[in-house]
Symmetry: C2
Subunit: 185 residues, 2 copies
Protein backbone atom coordinates (compact mmCIF):
# COMPACT_ATOMS: atom_id res chain seq x y z
CA UNK A 1 0.00 0.00 0.00
CA UNK A 2 1.42 3.35 -1.10
CA UNK A 3 -1.59 5.64 -1.37
CA UNK A 4 -4.64 6.36 0.78
CA UNK A 5 -7.73 4.63 -0.62
CA UNK A 6 -9.90 7.38 0.89
CA UNK A 7 -8.19 10.53 -0.44
CA UNK A 8 -5.43 9.35 -2.81
CA UNK A 9 -2.52 10.94 -0.94
CA UNK A 10 0.62 9.00 0.10
CA UNK A 11 0.49 6.84 3.24
CA UNK A 12 3.25 6.25 5.76
CA UNK A 13 3.80 3.43 8.25
CA UNK A 14 3.50 4.51 11.87
CA UNK A 15 1.91 3.52 15.15
CA UNK A 16 -1.35 5.46 15.60
CA UNK A 17 -2.17 6.94 19.00
CA UNK A 18 -3.62 4.31 21.32
CA UNK A 19 -2.35 1.48 19.11
CA UNK A 20 0.76 -0.70 19.45
CA UNK A 21 1.35 -1.76 15.84
CA UNK A 22 2.54 -0.08 12.69
CA UNK A 23 -0.33 0.77 10.35
CA UNK A 24 -0.61 2.49 7.03
CA UNK A 25 -1.75 6.03 7.89
CA UNK A 26 -2.59 8.76 5.37
CA UNK A 27 -0.24 11.75 5.51
CA UNK A 28 -3.13 14.08 4.66
CA UNK A 29 -6.50 12.80 5.94
CA UNK A 30 -5.04 10.63 8.76
CA UNK A 31 -7.17 7.63 7.72
CA UNK A 32 -5.78 4.41 9.24
CA UNK A 33 -5.74 1.44 6.85
CA UNK A 34 -5.81 -1.83 8.79
CA UNK A 35 -4.78 -5.06 7.14
CA UNK A 36 -6.18 -8.37 8.36
CA UNK A 37 -5.92 -12.08 7.56
CA UNK A 38 -8.09 -13.62 4.89
CA UNK A 39 -10.12 -16.82 5.05
CA UNK A 40 -9.84 -19.57 2.45
CA UNK A 41 -12.84 -21.93 2.55
CA UNK A 42 -13.26 -25.30 0.88
CA UNK A 43 -14.61 -28.83 1.15
CA UNK A 44 -13.47 -32.43 1.34
CA UNK A 45 -16.05 -33.75 -1.16
CA UNK A 46 -16.75 -37.49 -0.81
CA UNK A 47 -18.57 -39.88 -3.14
CA UNK A 48 -18.76 -43.60 -2.37
CA UNK A 49 -15.71 -43.45 -0.13
CA UNK A 50 -13.59 -41.58 -2.66
CA UNK A 51 -12.35 -37.97 -2.49
CA UNK A 52 -12.91 -35.46 -5.28
CA UNK A 53 -9.75 -33.52 -6.14
CA UNK A 54 -9.18 -30.78 -8.75
CA UNK A 55 -6.03 -30.32 -10.84
CA UNK A 56 -5.28 -26.61 -10.85
CA UNK A 57 -5.51 -24.68 -14.12
CA UNK A 58 -4.11 -21.51 -12.51
CA UNK A 59 -1.01 -20.36 -10.68
CA UNK A 60 0.22 -20.81 -8.07
CA UNK A 61 0.76 -24.57 -8.26
CA UNK A 62 -0.55 -25.00 -11.80
CA UNK A 63 -1.09 -28.70 -12.54
CA UNK A 64 -1.12 -29.83 -8.90
CA UNK A 65 -4.06 -31.48 -7.18
CA UNK A 66 -6.14 -29.58 -4.65
CA UNK A 67 -9.31 -29.77 -2.64
CA UNK A 68 -11.82 -27.24 -4.01
CA UNK A 69 -11.29 -24.02 -2.03
CA UNK A 70 -10.87 -20.30 -2.43
CA UNK A 71 -11.04 -16.90 -0.77
CA UNK A 72 -14.19 -16.20 1.20
CA UNK A 73 -16.11 -13.21 -0.20
CA UNK A 74 -17.91 -10.45 1.67
CA UNK A 75 -21.58 -11.13 2.56
CA UNK A 76 -21.22 -14.89 2.80
CA UNK A 77 -20.51 -17.49 5.50
CA UNK A 78 -17.57 -19.90 5.40
CA UNK A 79 -20.03 -22.69 4.59
CA UNK A 80 -21.46 -20.71 1.68
CA UNK A 81 -17.95 -19.90 0.47
CA UNK A 82 -16.91 -23.56 0.69
CA UNK A 83 -19.90 -24.84 -1.30
CA UNK A 84 -19.61 -21.99 -3.83
CA UNK A 85 -15.95 -22.81 -4.46
CA UNK A 86 -16.78 -26.51 -4.80
CA UNK A 87 -19.31 -25.63 -7.47
CA UNK A 88 -17.00 -23.20 -9.28
CA UNK A 89 -13.94 -25.45 -9.33
CA UNK A 90 -15.47 -28.93 -9.53
CA UNK A 91 -19.03 -28.28 -10.82
CA UNK A 92 -20.16 -30.43 -7.91
CA UNK A 93 -23.17 -29.92 -5.65
CA UNK A 94 -22.41 -30.98 -2.10
CA UNK A 95 -24.26 -31.59 1.14
CA UNK A 96 -22.08 -30.44 4.02
CA UNK A 97 -21.61 -32.73 7.03
CA UNK A 98 -19.57 -30.58 9.39
CA UNK A 99 -16.72 -28.12 9.72
CA UNK A 100 -13.63 -30.27 9.68
CA UNK A 101 -10.29 -28.41 9.69
CA UNK A 102 -9.24 -24.87 10.60
CA UNK A 103 -5.60 -24.41 9.69
CA UNK A 104 -3.79 -21.15 10.33
CA UNK A 105 -1.04 -20.08 7.95
CA UNK A 106 0.22 -16.98 9.77
CA UNK A 107 3.24 -16.28 7.52
CA UNK A 108 0.85 -15.56 4.65
CA UNK A 109 -1.94 -14.07 6.80
CA UNK A 110 -4.49 -16.75 5.96
CA UNK A 111 -6.85 -19.11 7.76
CA UNK A 112 -7.97 -22.16 5.78
CA UNK A 113 -11.25 -23.84 6.72
CA UNK A 114 -12.46 -27.10 5.18
CA UNK A 115 -15.90 -28.67 5.55
CA UNK A 116 -16.51 -32.39 5.19
CA UNK A 117 -19.13 -32.86 2.48
CA UNK A 118 -20.85 -35.46 0.32
CA UNK A 119 -21.49 -35.09 -3.40
CA UNK A 120 -25.25 -34.68 -3.69
CA UNK A 121 -25.73 -36.76 -6.84
CA UNK A 122 -22.26 -37.98 -7.83
CA UNK A 123 -21.94 -35.49 -10.66
CA UNK A 124 -18.87 -33.31 -11.12
CA UNK A 125 -16.77 -31.67 -13.80
CA UNK A 126 -13.93 -29.22 -14.33
CA UNK A 127 -14.64 -25.55 -13.61
CA UNK A 128 -12.66 -22.72 -15.21
CA UNK A 129 -9.87 -22.92 -12.64
CA UNK A 130 -9.45 -26.71 -12.99
CA UNK A 131 -7.74 -28.75 -15.73
CA UNK A 132 -9.64 -31.85 -14.60
CA UNK A 133 -11.31 -33.32 -11.53
CA UNK A 134 -11.18 -36.90 -10.38
CA UNK A 135 -12.37 -39.15 -7.54
CA UNK A 136 -9.47 -40.76 -5.66
CA UNK A 137 -9.65 -43.76 -3.36
CA UNK A 138 -7.70 -43.13 -0.16
CA UNK A 139 -4.88 -45.42 -1.27
CA UNK A 140 -4.57 -43.49 -4.54
CA UNK A 141 -4.28 -39.94 -3.16
CA UNK A 142 -1.48 -38.25 -5.19
CA UNK A 143 0.58 -37.19 -2.16
CA UNK A 144 3.53 -36.05 -4.25
CA UNK A 145 1.41 -33.84 -6.48
CA UNK A 146 -0.68 -31.93 -3.91
CA UNK A 147 -0.96 -28.17 -4.23
CA UNK A 148 -0.72 -26.71 -0.73
CA UNK A 149 0.29 -27.72 2.82
CA UNK A 150 -3.23 -27.11 4.16
CA UNK A 151 -4.67 -29.50 1.57
CA UNK A 152 -2.09 -32.12 2.53
CA UNK A 153 -2.77 -31.67 6.25
CA UNK A 154 -6.53 -31.90 5.78
CA UNK A 155 -6.19 -35.08 3.71
CA UNK A 156 -3.77 -36.60 6.25
CA UNK A 157 -6.28 -35.95 9.03
CA UNK A 158 -9.10 -37.32 6.91
CA UNK A 159 -7.25 -40.56 6.19
CA UNK A 160 -6.57 -41.03 9.92
CA UNK A 161 -10.16 -40.23 10.86
CA UNK A 162 -11.62 -42.64 8.29
CA UNK A 163 -9.83 -45.41 10.21
CA UNK A 164 -11.38 -44.19 13.47
CA UNK A 165 -14.76 -43.48 11.88
CA UNK A 166 -14.78 -40.22 13.83
CA UNK A 167 -14.38 -36.75 12.31
CA UNK A 168 -13.89 -34.10 15.00
CA UNK A 169 -13.01 -30.47 14.24
CA UNK A 170 -9.24 -30.07 14.00
CA UNK A 171 -7.51 -26.75 14.69
CA UNK A 172 -3.92 -26.65 13.49
CA UNK A 173 -1.16 -24.34 12.23
CA UNK A 174 1.25 -24.50 9.29
CA UNK A 175 4.42 -22.57 10.12
CA UNK A 176 7.09 -21.41 7.72
CA UNK A 177 10.50 -22.69 8.79
CA UNK A 178 13.89 -23.36 7.25
CA UNK A 179 12.96 -22.07 3.83
CA UNK A 180 9.92 -24.26 3.36
CA UNK A 181 6.43 -24.65 4.70
CA UNK A 182 6.68 -27.25 7.43
CA UNK A 183 4.28 -28.70 9.88
CA UNK A 184 3.97 -28.26 13.58
CA UNK A 185 2.80 -31.34 15.41
CA UNK B 1 -12.60 2.94 -1.43
CA UNK B 2 -12.17 5.85 -3.85
CA UNK B 3 -8.48 5.74 -4.83
CA UNK B 4 -6.04 3.01 -5.83
CA UNK B 5 -3.73 2.13 -2.94
CA UNK B 6 -1.02 1.14 -5.45
CA UNK B 7 -0.88 4.24 -7.68
CA UNK B 8 -3.23 6.84 -6.12
CA UNK B 9 -5.55 7.23 -9.11
CA UNK B 10 -9.36 6.89 -8.87
CA UNK B 11 -10.90 3.41 -8.79
CA UNK B 12 -14.17 2.31 -10.36
CA UNK B 13 -16.43 -0.63 -9.58
CA UNK B 14 -16.60 -3.22 -12.33
CA UNK B 15 -16.40 -6.96 -12.94
CA UNK B 16 -12.84 -7.87 -13.97
CA UNK B 17 -12.32 -10.34 -16.81
CA UNK B 18 -12.71 -13.92 -15.60
CA UNK B 19 -14.49 -12.79 -12.44
CA UNK B 20 -18.20 -12.66 -11.62
CA UNK B 21 -18.32 -9.95 -8.96
CA UNK B 22 -17.91 -6.21 -8.87
CA UNK B 23 -14.48 -5.19 -7.59
CA UNK B 24 -12.69 -1.91 -7.10
CA UNK B 25 -10.40 -1.62 -10.13
CA UNK B 26 -7.92 1.19 -10.76
CA UNK B 27 -8.74 3.32 -13.79
CA UNK B 28 -5.02 3.75 -14.52
CA UNK B 29 -2.93 0.76 -13.38
CA UNK B 30 -5.79 -1.79 -13.52
CA UNK B 31 -4.97 -3.11 -10.03
CA UNK B 32 -7.90 -5.08 -8.59
CA UNK B 33 -8.61 -4.38 -4.92
CA UNK B 34 -10.41 -7.32 -3.34
CA UNK B 35 -12.29 -6.92 -0.08
CA UNK B 36 -12.75 -9.87 2.24
CA UNK B 37 -14.38 -10.67 5.60
CA UNK B 38 -12.50 -10.08 8.81
CA UNK B 39 -12.12 -12.40 11.79
CA UNK B 40 -12.89 -11.34 15.35
CA UNK B 41 -11.31 -13.69 17.91
CA UNK B 42 -11.98 -13.91 21.63
CA UNK B 43 -12.35 -16.18 24.64
CA UNK B 44 -14.92 -17.36 27.16
CA UNK B 45 -12.64 -16.99 30.20
CA UNK B 46 -13.69 -19.13 33.16
CA UNK B 47 -12.57 -19.04 36.80
CA UNK B 48 -14.14 -21.28 39.42
CA UNK B 49 -17.29 -21.70 37.34
CA UNK B 50 -17.73 -18.00 36.69
CA UNK B 51 -17.33 -16.11 33.41
CA UNK B 52 -15.11 -13.05 33.05
CA UNK B 53 -16.83 -10.22 31.19
CA UNK B 54 -15.52 -6.76 30.28
CA UNK B 55 -17.57 -3.55 30.28
CA UNK B 56 -16.66 -1.66 27.12
CA UNK B 57 -14.86 1.68 27.40
CA UNK B 58 -15.12 2.29 23.64
CA UNK B 59 -17.78 2.61 20.96
CA UNK B 60 -19.67 0.84 19.62
CA UNK B 61 -21.69 -0.33 22.60
CA UNK B 62 -19.87 1.77 25.19
CA UNK B 63 -20.79 0.61 28.70
CA UNK B 64 -22.12 -2.79 27.63
CA UNK B 65 -20.66 -6.13 28.75
CA UNK B 66 -18.66 -8.24 26.33
CA UNK B 67 -16.46 -11.28 26.17
CA UNK B 68 -12.87 -10.19 25.49
CA UNK B 69 -12.45 -10.21 21.71
CA UNK B 70 -11.11 -8.16 18.83
CA UNK B 71 -9.92 -8.15 15.25
CA UNK B 72 -7.36 -10.78 14.36
CA UNK B 73 -4.08 -9.24 13.19
CA UNK B 74 -1.79 -10.33 10.38
CA UNK B 75 0.90 -12.88 11.32
CA UNK B 76 -1.07 -14.50 14.13
CA UNK B 77 -3.44 -17.44 14.59
CA UNK B 78 -7.00 -17.13 15.87
CA UNK B 79 -5.85 -18.69 19.14
CA UNK B 80 -3.06 -16.12 19.47
CA UNK B 81 -5.49 -13.33 18.63
CA UNK B 82 -8.00 -14.59 21.20
CA UNK B 83 -5.45 -14.80 24.02
CA UNK B 84 -3.90 -11.44 23.06
CA UNK B 85 -7.28 -9.73 23.17
CA UNK B 86 -8.03 -11.35 26.53
CA UNK B 87 -4.82 -9.92 27.88
CA UNK B 88 -5.36 -6.48 26.36
CA UNK B 89 -8.98 -6.07 27.46
CA UNK B 90 -9.07 -8.02 30.74
CA UNK B 91 -5.40 -8.21 31.77
CA UNK B 92 -6.00 -11.93 32.18
CA UNK B 93 -3.71 -14.81 31.27
CA UNK B 94 -5.67 -17.78 30.00
CA UNK B 95 -5.11 -21.43 29.17
CA UNK B 96 -7.21 -22.34 26.16
CA UNK B 97 -9.31 -25.51 26.26
CA UNK B 98 -10.75 -25.63 22.75
CA UNK B 99 -12.27 -23.67 19.91
CA UNK B 100 -15.88 -23.22 20.92
CA UNK B 101 -18.00 -21.03 18.61
CA UNK B 102 -17.63 -19.85 15.02
CA UNK B 103 -20.39 -17.37 14.27
CA UNK B 104 -20.75 -15.76 10.87
CA UNK B 105 -22.12 -12.23 10.64
CA UNK B 106 -22.35 -11.88 6.86
CA UNK B 107 -24.12 -8.51 6.78
CA UNK B 108 -21.05 -6.90 8.35
CA UNK B 109 -18.51 -9.21 6.66
CA UNK B 110 -17.21 -10.72 9.90
CA UNK B 111 -16.58 -14.15 11.38
CA UNK B 112 -16.43 -14.31 15.18
CA UNK B 113 -14.50 -17.16 16.80
CA UNK B 114 -14.47 -17.79 20.54
CA UNK B 115 -12.22 -20.20 22.43
CA UNK B 116 -13.19 -21.73 25.76
CA UNK B 117 -10.43 -20.85 28.24
CA UNK B 118 -9.52 -20.93 31.92
CA UNK B 119 -7.91 -18.06 33.78
CA UNK B 120 -4.38 -19.24 34.52
CA UNK B 121 -4.09 -17.79 38.01
CA UNK B 122 -7.40 -16.05 38.70
CA UNK B 123 -5.94 -12.59 38.17
CA UNK B 124 -7.59 -10.01 35.93
CA UNK B 125 -8.09 -6.28 35.57
CA UNK B 126 -9.37 -3.62 33.21
CA UNK B 127 -7.38 -2.98 30.03
CA UNK B 128 -7.52 0.33 28.17
CA UNK B 129 -10.65 -0.63 26.25
CA UNK B 130 -12.55 -1.74 29.38
CA UNK B 131 -14.24 0.33 32.10
CA UNK B 132 -14.18 -2.67 34.43
CA UNK B 133 -14.08 -6.46 34.34
CA UNK B 134 -15.99 -8.83 36.56
CA UNK B 135 -16.60 -12.55 37.11
CA UNK B 136 -20.26 -13.51 36.67
CA UNK B 137 -21.92 -16.68 37.90
CA UNK B 138 -24.12 -18.16 35.18
CA UNK B 139 -27.29 -17.02 36.94
CA UNK B 140 -25.94 -13.46 37.09
CA UNK B 141 -25.02 -12.96 33.41
CA UNK B 142 -26.27 -9.44 32.49
CA UNK B 143 -28.34 -10.57 29.48
CA UNK B 144 -29.93 -7.14 29.00
CA UNK B 145 -26.59 -5.35 28.94
CA UNK B 146 -24.59 -7.50 26.52
CA UNK B 147 -22.66 -5.80 23.74
CA UNK B 148 -23.12 -7.90 20.60
CA UNK B 149 -25.29 -10.75 19.24
CA UNK B 150 -22.28 -13.06 18.87
CA UNK B 151 -21.40 -12.59 22.55
CA UNK B 152 -25.00 -13.36 23.51
CA UNK B 153 -25.13 -16.44 21.28
CA UNK B 154 -21.82 -17.75 22.64
CA UNK B 155 -22.97 -17.27 26.23
CA UNK B 156 -26.34 -18.92 25.49
CA UNK B 157 -24.56 -21.95 24.06
CA UNK B 158 -22.15 -22.02 26.99
CA UNK B 159 -24.97 -22.00 29.55
CA UNK B 160 -26.66 -24.90 27.73
CA UNK B 161 -23.41 -26.84 27.44
CA UNK B 162 -22.54 -26.41 31.12
CA UNK B 163 -25.74 -28.35 31.88
CA UNK B 164 -24.67 -31.12 29.48
CA UNK B 165 -21.02 -30.98 30.62
CA UNK B 166 -20.10 -31.21 26.93
CA UNK B 167 -18.60 -28.37 24.87
CA UNK B 168 -18.55 -29.20 21.16
CA UNK B 169 -17.60 -26.71 18.45
CA UNK B 170 -20.66 -24.74 17.35
CA UNK B 171 -20.93 -23.18 13.88
CA UNK B 172 -23.73 -20.66 13.60
CA UNK B 173 -24.85 -17.50 11.78
CA UNK B 174 -26.31 -14.20 12.91
CA UNK B 175 -28.46 -12.72 10.13
CA UNK B 176 -29.73 -9.17 9.86
CA UNK B 177 -33.51 -9.13 9.47
CA UNK B 178 -36.39 -6.73 10.02
CA UNK B 179 -34.21 -3.82 11.07
CA UNK B 180 -32.36 -5.62 13.85
CA UNK B 181 -29.77 -8.32 14.26
CA UNK B 182 -31.72 -11.50 14.81
CA UNK B 183 -30.83 -15.10 15.27
CA UNK B 184 -31.28 -18.03 12.95
CA UNK B 185 -32.06 -21.29 14.71
Amino acid sequence: MKYCSTCGHPVEQRIPQGDNRHRYVCTRCEAIHYQNPRIVAGTVPIWEGRILLCRRAIEPRYGYWTLPAGFMENSETTLEAATRETWEEALAEVTVDNLYTIIHVPHIDQVHMFYRAALTNGEFGAGEESLETQLFAIEDIPWDELSFPTVRRTLELYVEDVQKEHFPVHVDDIRYRMGSATERR
